[in-house]
Symmetry: C2
Subunit: 262 residues, 2 copies
């Protein structure tokens, strides 16, 4: 149930055909929540353009997002832009002020801690659930993602760090998918972490990045062992250790920038 409102729903829904005369007797027969076909393009274009502009910093924190301008630059009208902004607001990418419109949120340190607290709670719970239900295919996928991340990180090239971040998101998403709780996945992925964590690895030192990658391996091991407590603990560890790498205040210090990692 509850398909992700706009997210790229790559999940086979499976249970669409509960059409078996479900109690309702009236003529206004509720039709079965049919299969999601293809998403239209206007809202999707506006959505992804705005989203990536926020993520990559083109739209800096505090910026006022005017609907007309976004509509022009996206090549669509204001209506789909509004819908896209609403979705982005629901996911925490923008903030709305009643008669002023949408703004790129400014993250405070308190926000940062809120988000990581929630990530720790939700994803460690997801890891616990996943340890119960994980399949061999899930484990293969997780191992493959971990390996890809290690490869990308080993290259040492900063431009690969975005790949690492993307793979990291996929890894965490895969764990949440393996948990079997779709709402949990939706919450953890959409509402919580994305805006902050997306470009995260740019700031990791080489050794911290290595530790993060080792965490991933250990998460897979814990899941493979079907050890719920271990899985929960290592996932919690993994996320809470990342918190301190990414504090907004740490922008200046700039630790060892990844280079020359064998």
């Amino acid at each position: 149930m509850t398909p992700p409102i706009g997210g790229a729903g790559a999940e086979p829904d499976g249970l669409a055909a509960a059409t078996t005369t479900t109690a309702a007797t009236t003529a206004t027969r509720p039709r079965p929540p049919a299969r999601p076909r293809t998403m239209p393009k206007a809202v999707e274009r506006a959505y992804s353009q705005i989203r990536s502009a926020i993520v990559d910093g083109t739209f800096p924190p505090g910026m006022h997002l005017e609907e007309e301008g976004l509509a022009d630059s996206s090549g669509v009208s204001r209506t789909p832009v509004r819908e896209a902004l609403r979705r982005l607001a629901a996911e925490g990418f923008v903030e709305f002020v009643p008669h002023q419109g949408a703004f790129v949120p400014t993250w405070t340190e308190a926000d940062h801690h809120e988000i990581f607290d929630l990530r720790a709670v939700l994803e460690s719970f997801g890891a616990r659930l996943a340890a119960r239900r994980v399949s061999a295919a899930d484990l293969d996928e997780l191992r493959a993602l971990a390996a890809e991340m290690e490869t990308a990180a080993r290259s040492g090239r900063p431009d690969r760090l975005d790949d690492v971040a993307a793979l990291n998101n996929r890894f965490h998403g895969a764990v949440l998918a393996a948990s079997g709780n779709r709402r949990l996945r939706q919450l953890a992925q959409a509402t919580v972490a994305v805006p902050l964590v997306l470009r995260t690895f740019q700031r990791y030192s080489a050794e911290r990045l290595q530790r993060s990658l080792r965490h991933h391996r250990e998460i897979v091991d814990a899941l493979a062992a079907r050890d719920e407590s271990w899985a929960e603990a290592i996932m919690r560890t993994h996320i809470l250790s990342a918190r301190w790498e990414l504090l907004p205040a740490r922008e200046a210090p700039e630790p060892d920038p990844i280079d020359s990692e064998g």
Copy 2:
């Protein structure tokens, strides 16, 4: 920051009056996220009407919500109806199917368990945080709400049970507010439980209701003692015990309907 997108933002944001000669340097200065004034009325009307119709069963599960009809019955046009539906979808009250529109979701038993698992995780964590930061005023409010619920329940009249449900929501919301984590509150309140739990108490037996009310008292005690683990445990208990009262399958049995209590 991140004010609740559509919720009645009753928070004094404080930093509204930077109106004095625009201390900014550039013209495209990001303006401060100003105070939330008054929410418009069209979307709000549509939103609350649709929402309550879903909650009270006027719109049964599986029903197709046609925008034009909703617009007519709400006295507004389709545009605000669409926005209201988007918000409701983000909160789990409706589901969207691409070129078919919005439907009232049908809750399966699996959905039910997903939701209660998440509630248990989020709200017990909220109780833990709240035990750290709860103020005397918070405790007073919680005690007052608990007392009101007991009064309403003692009356034994089934029509008061909706009041109990509303007070229950306020109680849980107050705990989450006391946690100090706004995102946690937003997640726990908006995305997770509301549609299912709202009309919940109609199904409680008298003794179960009493137990639930005692839980509330114990939650307050745990918070007053500033005992994080106690608060977390009793909140978890409170929610998980409620899970089994509300299973969809239990519709037929219909236990002792509250009467003559007190």
